[in-house]
Symmetry: C2
Amino acid sequence: MLSKNTVKFIKSLHQKKYRIEFGQFFVEGEKSVLEVLQSDFLVDLVLVTEAFENKNFGVLKSFKGELIRVTQNQLEQLGQFQSNDSALAVVRMKPNTPFLPENDELIIALDDVRDPGNLGTIIRVADWYGIQKLVFSPQTAEFYNPKVIQSTMGSFTRVKFFYEELESVLGRWKRPVYGAFLDGTIIHKLQNPAPGILLMGNESKGISPEMEKFVSKKVTIPGFGKAESLNVAIATAILCDNFKRLMGS
Amino acid sequence: MLSKNTVKFIKSLHQKKYRIEFGQFFVEGEKSVLEVLQSDFLVDLVLVTEAFENKNFGVLKSFKGELIRVTQNQLEQLGQFQSNDSALAVVRMKPNTPFLPENDELIIALDDVRDPGNLGTIIRVADWYGIQKLVFSPQTAEFYNPKVIQSTMGSFTRVKFFYEELESVLGRWKRPVYGAFLDGTIIHKLQNPAPGILLMGNESKGISPEMEKFVSKKVTIPGFGKAESLNVAIATAILCDNFKRLMGS
């Protein structure tokens, strides 16, 4: 039975200040809820339709938190999906941990990527290419924003992320820092790149001058038409694809 | 002076049925309005702030349509941008023309891409890679939707597009049709691809079985992690980047 207090609580999680106050966020839709239930996130509460419960009995059986049966209409009132006939989960945020990279990894760092859809898409791209760590400047969009979670399509459960001052991360970094610029080496022609940090900039300003000084190799996506730029998530994907091809992995 | 009728007319263009009835659509923001004014689109009306008018006197001087001075607040009431301190243009739709490809082109075809943001991003990607023609199935999102126009970042002025039944286009097509599938040739390893049509599928269903039979070469973007799929605009961008690299242009 869904109480008024639970309704009020879940609705409050649409706002960042309450997500931070409670240390919780919500996840919607069949695929994402199933993935978070099978991840290392701690799930406190799951609201399910009867159909979802019957279909996913196996996964729900091992769930130790609170389970509430609701209607599709109730789910749609609570979340941000226009249509949700399956489930919504309330999940505990993970504690911040320090960024401790390994030597042979490709890592993505974001210098103030503000749009939640872009952040979510970049997380999904990272997961596709097996990139496990992402470093976000403090001004980057919030990982637990419902739009970020939604656009990762479940990939938020598989990446590690670190909100840190990039100045500090890049300042102590001894390996390559690749940055996307319009006047760098054409990415198709880059020779034997070593693993390192791929730094991507803000949607309108690009990489800030303060961070540009840490870039050891500027790279460029070749354009053949008249568009002035690419969306930051698109550019991240193209660069990751090239790095994976060039690194032979 | 902005009349009530003009306000009502522009607001009506938020809806597809009025765009079709009037054969017009609107374009917002400094960059897009400047690009449409300098394109082969016919612009009927431009609303400008004083600042935009002063800054862009040169471009506006050769504009023959109606020019109305408005405030930032008025612009924000009329369009869909939260913030618009520059301009909004009302533009004539182009008449449909038949799809007449040339032999050495790479062309993008979309099989029911429904999300306006995805369509706009794909148009921007096409323009970046110098791909000039796009064929859309009739169920693909509407080119003149304000969200499509916005996410092209001005690229809508530089591509040619054709809404046609893909069955008819692909049925008479004699050259390669590349389709993105999970079990095709790894795109990094494709050998000397000839120009042809790159067919991309619907966000949730992919390429439909009816269209799959026209695909002469299945291609796959290699994944290294656990994400099940990529967003269609991301996948289009990665494939275009690889085709351009492999075709040596």
